[in-house]
């Protein structure tokens, strides 16, 4: 099988063969062409030297000229004496006529270009007095495909005949102009001459070059980062995708069941809040698609999730242990802490504490501390049962009454604010104290409200310790459990000063 050399192959290929000599002598060989790894440089301008033009006045391949090819005003000179190189060049202007001459070529700057430099050789000769005002002009410019100007790269005029010593064939180079700002765009490189009606200026253009350097552009990678494949989901689910590319991810989208749900541009991450209540229960497919500027599209691995919107999920928390069962049956948690009930089923949950533990209450779709709770499965529901193990036994130690804190000496506690008050180490209370016997005072409240004390480091358990009334300085006695020797105060009412006095502790 003959081997053909491939330009920029994406994979490595090999061919093996055998060379036989006369007699029994032979040799084997392997020919390997590695996958192209790097990029390279190339000239985007087709026939920048116009040498492929068939005759004067006719367009060179790749170029568009105005006036049109074959008119009496020749813009392409074949077999002329004044080329920068070769025997063909473009000649703009040069007549005593008010007119524009256009020489344009459409190019697409690759999105993976690392450099893009336009150069051209120009020769300017004029019959204007050298150094006179600008009368005749040549613009080196970029236009869009609709013929609208994008930018002028260089403006030359009859004054620039000085650069050519006003001698035909005496070229100077313009550029390089960096066009990398137009990566991924298709534009027209234009040489536009304007001449007025007297004392002509001739602009010769030759050897136009747009050198681009590119590097390899591999397809992007992308994946769904959440939810996990195989996950059981309900309600509103946060779907997230990431993507990466060796250049840039130009677009990223998340598809669910084959339909694009959301997309963005020029970002490597994307998320989508998926309301699973709007789809059927059962399996659904999620994947992401990433696009790069080189036209590559990558689809991620498919993540399959199971939507279950009538699932009752029971979670157990707390320091103790116990079980939760349901009627109708389904939940035995234990081990089965999730069950899909029919829509609108009334499910009664029963919490049973293990020996040595006690049930302390529900949260989520259930509340209160009764061991039984009924949930209506109008949607997916989550219930948490809290079991606690018995706290440690402690004995009472009496103290001389002692003031722990008086916020009038520091700052009052704002409404809806909490403050940690360290009790251990004050008033003779040891670090090992588990609770203090305290008298709590609210001083001169500006409105009604309450203070709640609870062990530091946990959320407010919904209790109250001292209810205060507008204008009434009021006290209450309380046993305050500590955590690490610290109690937390939560205030609900008005900016409030408070006092903690202790008379003993438990340890």
């Amino acid at each position: 099988m003959p081997y053909s050399y491939a330009s920029n192959p994406s994979t490595t290929s090999t061919r093996a063969g055998t060379i036989s000599f006369s007699g029994s002598l032979s040799a084997t060989f392997t020919l390997t062409q590695d996958a192209a790894t790097g990029g390279g440089g190339s000239d985007l301008i087709v026939d920048g030297g116009f040498e492929s033009a068939t005759a004067s006045g006719f367009v060179a391949p790749g170029w568009v000229i105005t006036p049109s090819p074959g008119s009496s005003h020749w813009l392409i000179i074949k077999n002329g004496p004044y080329g920068h190189a070769g025997i063909t060049y473009a000649s703009l202007g040069g007549e005593n006529v008010t007119q524009y001459d256009w020489l344009m070529q459409t190019v697409t700057i690759p999105s993976n270009a690392t450099a893009s430099n336009l150069t051209a050789w120009i020769n300017v000769t004029t019959q204007e007095a050298l150094g006179d005002n600008v009368y005749d002009v040549l613009w080196v410019a970029l236009y869009d495909l609709n013929g609208n100007p994008i930018t002028t790269l260089r403006q030359l005029s009859n004054q620039d005949a000085l650069l050519s010593n006003n001698t035909l064939g005496n070229y100077f180079q313009v550029g390089p102009f960096d066009l990398s700002a137009y990566k991924g765009m298709t534009v027209q490189v234009a040489f536009v001459a304007f001449t007025d009606s007297s004392l002509p200026t001739t602009f010769l253009v030759d050897d136009v070059s747009l050198q681009v350097s590119t590097v390899a552009d591999n397809p992007p990678t992308t994946s769904i980062t959440m939810p996990a494949s195989g996950a059981a989901v309900s309600g509103t689910v946060n779907v997230a995708a990431t993507a990466a590319d060796d250049h840039a991810v130009t677009s990223l989208e998340i598809d669910i069941d084959g339909l694009a749900k959301v997309s963005n541009t020029n970002s490597t991450s994307l998320s989508y809040s998926w309301n699973t209540m709007l789809v059927s229960n059962g399996q659904h497919q999620i994947y992401s698609k990433a696009y790069d500027g080189a036209g590559h599209v990558t689809t991620s691995s498919i993540v399959i999730v199971t939507v279950s919107n009538n699932a009752l999920v029971v979670t157990k928390s707390g320091t103790g242990s116990g079980g939760v069962t349901s009627n109708p049956s389904g939940i035995d948690c234990g081990t089965t802490c999730r069950f899909d009930f029919a829509l609108n089923t009334q499910v009664t949950l029963t919490a049973t504490a293990a020996v040595g533990s006690s049930f302390s209450g529900w949260s989520g779709a259930c509340s209160g501390s009764s061991p039984q709770c009924t949930v209506t499965m109008s949607q997916a529901q989550n219930v948490t049962a809290v079991f606690t193990s018995p706290p440690v036994a402690s004995a009472f130690y009496v103290l001389a009454p002692c003031r722990i804190i008086d916020t009038r000496d520091s700052t009052p506690l704002a409404n809806l604010a909490t403050r940690d008050v360290t009790v251990a180490g004050v008033c003779g209370i040891p670090p090992s104290a588990v609770a203090v016997v305290a008298n709590i005072t609210a001083v001169a409240p500006a409105s009604g409200g309450f203070l709640a004390f609870y062990p530091a480091g946990s959320t407010w358990p919904g209790n109250s310790t001292l209810n205060y009334r507008t204008g009434k300085t009021r006290a209450n006695n309380a046993i305050l459990r500590l955590s690490g020797g610290v109690t937390t105060v939560f205030n609900n009412g008005s900016m409030q000063n408070f006092i903690i006095d202790v008379t003993g502790y438990f340890q």
Binding site: N463, I479, R481
Partner: protein, 149 residues
């Protein structure tokens, strides 16, 4: 005359016997994270509504919830009233004895809310803690903060 005297002695003995039931110990204290055990503003139930009426007693279940074991002998709690319609007082006591003539929380109708800390014994009944309201309507909240055992 002798028969009448014996009857009187019998009544006194009953009273002594009732008090003696509540005398036991010593017990250790177990501190808890505060936990709302009773709130009569909640829907009707053992530890929920309805609101207390005048001269009414209700029995609540304290052991077995909020981390309080069934073996608990006494509880430390914060007793709170809200929405009182008249000045009144509350009495709290173990549910297996007659209501003692004591008060734990005295309040006015003008108090939007008021609380007092109470240490009180628990009976061995399923509904182990009794609460009495003297007059008017009032909501009662009990937050437990620990127990004795």
């Amino acid at each position: 005359m002798k028969n009448i005297l014996r009857l009187t002695l019998s009544m006194i003995l009953l009273g002594v016997s009732g008090n003696a039931l509540a005398q036991s110990g010593p017990y250790s204290y177990y501190a808890l994270t505060p936990c709302r055990a009773v709130d009569t503003r909640e829907t009707n139930g053992t530890n929920g509504g309805p609101i207390f009426g005048s001269n009414s007693t209700r029995n609540f279940q304290i052991r077995g919830i909020c981390g309080i074991p069934t073996g608990a002998k006494a509880v430390s709690l914060n007793l709170t009233i809200v929405n009182a319609t008249q000045s009144s007082f509350l009495t709290v006591w173990p549910s297996n004895v007659a209501r003692p003539f004591v008060s734990m929380l005295n309040f006015e109708a003008a108090d939007p809310s008021l609380a007092n800390g109470v240490l009180v014994g628990l009976s061995s009944n399923a509904q182990d803690l009794s609460v009495y309201n003297n007059s008017g309507n009032v909501h009662v909240i009990i937050d437990v903060t620990g127990y004795f055992q």
